[in-house]
Amino acid sequence: MSEVFASPRGLIVGGLFIVLLIALIWAIVYGRKLARTEVTDLVFGNPQKALGGWHWVISGVSAILIFWLYFSWDAARAFFPNVANELCQVAKVESAVVPMRSAFPFESRLLRGTSLLSRDSTQIAQIRGRISNLDLEAEQVGSIEPLLDRLGALQVSLASPDSMAPETAAALDGIAARINELADQLDSGELSAEQVAAIATAREVDPGWGNTNKEIPIDPITERGARYAAVAAPLLEVSKEYTSIRNNSPAFLDEVAAIDADIKALIASTDSESVAQIGKDLTKVLKRIDDAVIFPPSALQPVEYALANLHEVHRDQQGSLRLIDAIALPGGRIVAGKTACTEQGSGRWLPKPSDTIRKFVGLADPTRGYKGHALLWYKQKTLAEMAGFFIPDWIADLVPGEYPRHNEAGEIGQNLKSKILNIATGNFASPSVPIPTGHIWDSMMRVLTGLFFGIVLGVPLGLFMGLSRFAKGFFDPLIELYRPVPPLAWAPLILTIFGIQDDGKIFLLFMVAFAIMVISARTGATGTQLSKIHASHSLGASRWQILRNVILPNSLPEILTGIRISIGVCWGTLVAAEMLAGTTGIGFVENVARKQNDYEIIWITIILLGLLGLLFDLVMRWVISRTIPWRGKG
């Protein structure tokens, strides 16, 4: 346990984990104690019972964080920083023996030879059945049946120790002996001086789990790991050798060639299509028997024993490692590849909180950002630039007169028209002001711009539709036809027409907000009490005054609720739209991260989106409580 809290990060994460555990237990104990001391009524379903209870908030938050630290293996990394490297070495051994073990009934039910024998016999029997069903001449049957008999006999011969070549038997015994040798080496736990030196070097090159860009250092950094690594490489060689052994004696090969020739002769001699098909099927069976990977069970026994022995040693030598693997690394395992060991399962897709925070600090740094764009920062922009952006150029065209032409000296004079053009295009000296920028700002501005146009155009139309039979009838089909379409279904079309930059996305969001605003304003206008309209008529209000002073404020609760819903829906749509196309925005960040399997960034964007969505909603709730306190009390 000396390795515990080896790094400052380990100290922080481990300490936090312990604090959270204590908080969780305390909150539960406190909550139970409180429940005992409080007067409890016997009413089921009393909403009063749900009031208060901040200690349950603590327990809930702690539980989530503990869950995150635990399943992302961040806690495991803090408490056992070397364990991943050791498990990596163990995984190397495991993956080395997999090709051998899969031939024996360790993880499967049958010996591989047994299942091959039964399958091929079944196929031979099937072909035999087909012959009797086909209406064949006796002569043809007479030429096929012997072939089937010979194929069966050939296959069965593989299972007999007598027909096995002595070299093959020797090779199998050799494999068993080498496996036993390596098992003894693993068991003895001896390391050469070279291997011990290599551990120190590996520690220097890659000090541990998650400390460098590589997920898990592949070279062993502990003695236990080194012992596994030492047998992993030779075992891989043995595995390769084993899989290349074939049970093909000269007699077997001769018979294979003879049967092959006879099948070919059969196919050549016949016009019948069904006989030719049977010939092809016979060839397929022969090709499989030709692999010659069926051995007599007695010949395989030494290898099976050796593998079982190795497995036992392999387990014993892991010691506490197996327990740690089972308890501290839940929801997945460490897998060895050719060039690297990787975390699989929840350790992979659930990023560690400490890594996530480190990544976020990097993203939040405006000089780094993500893909050349800060997350949220500011930049200096001149007023002229903004004027050029907002004032349309054609305003200058409306000014009477002509734009100046150059004179013979090549000079260009100025007149009123050209001066206005300069202002409209932002071509003048002006002070600069800081303007927010960044992925977050871009996303927010798109939503707010789309929403702005949705409100400005949707609310008047909605009120109009609520008050006029013509408007309701005329515009209703239009809106009801496009509204139920999921916004993203429009996206390909809209992005093609308006471009993948802001215009397309803003228009898409406008469409979303517009339909919602029309419907809510319409509901608001329809819900105005007739007596209020009558009263304002009697008080001398004109139509416009009634609209402005009675119908609009009366619709305000529905309109504000509509805005609140719109923001939520727009936010969801925007991110999906940004994933489709574009070069900035939170959705863009997530899309790039997805392509690079950067799970930390993916989670950062998810959390950011959640927090910003919550922020929007809180602002709207505040606005609603401030502007329409009369809601539901009229």
Partner: protein
Amino acid sequence: MSDLIADQVDMTFTMPSGEQVHALKDVSFTLKQGELLSVLGPSGCGKTTLLNLIAGFLRPTGGQFTLNDMEINGPGVERGMVFQQGALFEWLTVAENVDFGLRMKKANKAESARKVEEWLEIVGLQGFGNTPTYQLSGGMQQRVALARCLINDPDLILMDEPLGALDALTREKMQSLVLKIWKETGKTIMIITHSVEEALLLGERLFVMAPRPGRLHKEYHLPFAEWGLNQDLRDVKKHDDFGTVREEILTMIWDMEEEIMGKTA
């Protein structure tokens, strides 16, 4: 002359099914300036239709109303209206509600503020100017509605069951208030009510209407409103004459109701 004259007014509604409903038939009367009229009748006799016609929300299918020698043609400020539920604008404060009519006329702000204070005092709501209306009780809301109507200085005040939704105590206080306002301002007031007692108390003249088609059935000239100005309303109600008239009208309306039920049954 600012008299309200109803001249053979006829009102027929055509339902979407094509069915014709004769809501009012041949209604004629003259309401002189400063008179207090209450209208009573069983449900469905066209009381509210009559009021909506005078207010100008509906146009009669026959005959006409004239006020100040002008034919009534659409809603107007000279005919103020008080509704059953107050119909206040809940997004405005008490003062803003009362001020509504003046604001629509774009009247002088300081002048309006003074008038609002004055009217709030008359209806007994001084100090409530900045209160949101949804925080007021039903009786107080009706006081605001009264003030909001009266500040426009209408020639004729139409009240559509203004006290119907109030509890008995508040109702009696409000009845006194209506009488007080009638006396002090000398306005012509027309009240529609369900309550026979209220109709007797608040009717210098009283129309009892009959249904199918809606028409004026009987007219009374009553002294109780005058009495109510000087006496406690409960004393007025105890008077024998009051009891006699009440019984007479109740029997009349009861018979009408029975006739309707018999018809439909």
